[in-house]
């Protein structure tokens, strides 16, 4: 008996935006914490990253709520965390956001004393950094937990989403602090470092993507159909144009040009925007290509 399959229609753009914003925000926060620990002179960078990280995650939450069938009941998403990743994500994101707002609160006048040379702040940063890590990883684990979609049910998706989160987070931070970095001494080298680090991340992301797709192509009938719909099916324009050319090739090409003609800030900005679009389309493409293993096709839809 042949097993026929169909692509899922339930998690689409809203979930893609949510996964993208939560991942990017978490990535930006992680980079900010790393910058604060290893490069404490760049307070602007770490502050911008913290603000950006929290802001993006908060921005992503409405997309998740809008996708619900009963939006008014969204608080029920946290009823149990025993096995459900939606529930776990609810708490990871809530605690991350609350601690993040407390962190931002340190910059405001009556609490400023908490910020300087204080182990409390460092502890908070590390705890929330771990939560940011959990947020980025959770976006992949949520999909991995759906076992009936073979294309998602692999640890590779977690790694892919995590690297993509770091990459888009770095680039978002770079975009928002570019004006400041150009004004300060040594800012240009920080800028160049961030961009190079990001391209390295994109390089790893491409490797994982290739490995992921080739593994899935050979895994099961359902996952093969998922990969086929991306590379040669109706999602091919989105995949080749959006994810590969826009998200991976153009940023690399622009970097090569930038090495030869340094100082063209427009190139950095343009390649950053392409990387962000690529990151969003990667989430959407993987969601849309999710083929659910259903024994048979419905004829009454």
């Amino acid at each position: 008996m042949e097993v026929q399959v169909e692509r899922q229609q339930y998690w689409r753009w809203k979930i893609a935006f949510y996964l993208f914003l939560a991942g990017t925000g978490a990535g930006a926060y992680i980079v900010a914490i790393l910058a604060d620990i290893f490069y404490p002179e760049a307070t602007y960078l770490s502050k911008a990253g913290v603000l950006l990280g929290i802001g993006l995650v908060i921005l992503g939450i409405p997309f998740l709520i809008l996708d619900l069938g009963r939006k008014g009941r969204f608080l029920r998403a946290g009823v149990t965390i025993k096995t459900a990743w939606i529930g776990r994500g609810f708490y990871i994101l809530s605690i991350f956001t609350i601690l993040g707002v407390i962190h931002i609160g340190f910059w405001i006048w009556p609490f400023k004393f908490l910020e300087t040379g204080n182990s409390f702040r460092l502890t908070l940063e590390i705890v929330n950094g771990l939560l940011a890590f959990s947020t980025a990883v959770y976006t992949g684990l949520l999909l991995k937990s759906i076992k009936s979609i073979h294309f998602w049910n692999t640890p590779l998706i977690v790694i892919l989403f995590f690297i993509s989160a770091l990459s888009t987070g770095t680039i978002c931070l770079l975009l928002t602090s570019i004006k400041y970095l150009l004004q300060i001494r040594g800012g240009r080298s920080v800028l160049s470092f961030l961009l190079s680090a990001d391209l390295l991340l994109i390089f790893f992301e491409s490797l994982v993507l290739v490995f992921y797709l080739s593994t899935m192509y050979g895994a099961t009938e359902a996952s093969e159909k998922s990969v086929s719909s991306l590379i040669k099916g109706d999602l091919k324009l989105l995949f080749w144009g959006g994810i590969i050319i826009c998200g991976l090739i153009i940023p690399f090409a622009l970097k090569v040009i930038e090495v030869s003609y340094p100082g063209i800030i427009g190139l950095v900005v343009v390649s950053s925007i392409f990387i962000l679009i690529g990151g969003l389309l990667l989430r959407y493409g993987i969601l849309a290509a999710g083929v659910q293993v259903i024994p048979l096709l419905p004829n009454c839809r």
Binding site: E2, G69, A77, S145, L296
Partner: protein
Amino acid sequence: MRYGMVIDLNRCIGCHACSIACKIENATPPGVFWSRVFQVEEGKYPDVKRSYIPRLCMQCDDPACIKVCSTRATYKDPLGLVRIDESKCIGCKACILACPYGARSLNEGGDYFSTGAPWGEIEESHEVGTVSKCTFCSHLIGKGPEPSCVAACPTGARHFGDIDDPESEVRQLIKGRFGFQFHPEFNLDPSVYYLPPKGSILGVVFYTLESKERKE
């Protein structure tokens, strides 16, 4: 005691009486099918065959839908049936994706009747924006009649009973006629068994073996 169903694929003629009986009994809204019949085409021209596969919630022993539900809207009732409390469901759709049998549908609203359904009470219990699925007609269990799809089947392809009882009709059918479950590789242990059509018993054996291989 475990309620289960056996569907004889030899007997199904694809008349959709079960789908309609289910709609009438449970007053499900448009687009929501708790019970439906799927058509499969096998082979290549000129050697082709069309067969029908009726489907409903498999009432798994270890359901994937309960695991992904973070609201506890999906639960197992005292009869061991997997049920949904629509008043708790937030409509996140994770269970629709997690179910490998496509048993769940999202109620996207709408009504068959401009003036409201004549059933009233049951129709009102379906909440727009929530997910629902077959309950094995749990409101009828113990009151005599079989689930409406079983009662409606004109060819007697459906059998309902206790699959734990070795003497029951359903268990005897599973034992004697190579009853099989779909997707054994997920280890969900569904309570709905299918009897393979004549001539494809070997195919079913291969299907089960292949699924077991995939599991390992």
